[in-house]
């Protein structure tokens, strides 16, 4: 019991990291797209828990609401909307996958070496209290993020709303039935 309380953070991190990696492997490895989607949902939730451990409570809530709520519903909606048989090709993996996997593994090794250096060198901040400060007073993480978002990052915030508008218009145009995408192409007739 004393071991548990003394090493609580480490145990939580390694458990969550293992679960995240396991569900990420599931996303890549499952044959059925529905199983991949459920596995992706699990990995989103574990990453949200990791965000809480790094004092990003607001982002954890956003992760659950936007990813686990919105994006996953969108994925599952498309999977259910179209026939799963059509989504599930006989051959799950592309041919010639081995060189790609080896290249990715070599890249992983190089990146880990670099990441270790990047994570262990460099300056360290004053502490997690600074992540909750608003105007010099301690408030909440959500309040502090909102303060920064609507003051210092107001212009990027507005630009992102344009990105969302463009994405919405694009999705509507792709989804239209008369977009000229049927077999044979409807464009030539007119």
């Amino acid at each position: 019991m004393e071991f548990l309380t003394a090493h609580f953070v480490e145990i939580m991190f390694y458990t969550l990291a293992a679960l995240t990696v396991a569900s990420a492997v599931g996303v890549v490895a499952f044959r059925n797209p529905v199983h991949s989607a459920i596995s992706l949902l699990a990995s989103f939730l574990f990453v949200a828990a990791l965000f809480v451990m790094r004092h990003a409570e607001f982002l954890a809530a956003v992760q659950v609401l936007v990813y686990a709520g919105g994006i996953m519903v969108l994925f599952l909606f498309v999977i259910m909307l179209v026939n799963v048989k059509r989504l599930d090709p006989e051959q799950v993996f592309l041919s010639g996958k081995a060189p790609a996997a080896v290249a990715a593994g070599v890249l992983l090794g190089a990146l880990i070496a670099f990441g270790y250096l990047a994570g262990s060198l460099g300056p360290v901040g004053p502490g997690p209290e600074a992540l909750r400060m608003v105007d010099g007073a301690v408030a909440g993480n959500t309040e502090a993020v909102g303060w920064l978002l609507y003051r210092q990052y107001l212009v990027p915030f507005e630009v992102v709303s344009v990105v969302l508008l463009v994405a919405m218009i694009g999705a509507i145009i792709f989804g239209r039935r008369d977009a000229g995408l049927e077999e044979g192409g409807g464009r030539m007739e007119q």
Binding site: P89, L108, G170
Partner: protein, 100 residues
Amino acid sequence: MIGATHYVILSLVLFVLGLIGVMVRRNFITVLMSLELIFNAANLNLIAFSDRLSDLSGQVFAIFIITVAAAEAAIGLGLIVALLRLKNTAALDEASEMGG
């Protein structure tokens, strides 16, 4: 002691898993899901260094990344519907008009 290094390595593993998924999978929907894994890895990095430097800007950037990921998911799923209508399949190597 769990520091930023642990999170960086975890996010690297997630990134490479997503990369393998994007390169190896044949189903368009699964490729998009692997892309979401890559976005998550980037967010994990930003959060780890935001905590290490005690700088909230990393969390704000992560919010922007989540927004862009949502837009990407909407467009990508629209593309899947268009591909299904055109080719009647979600296999990526069926769409080879441009020599890819």
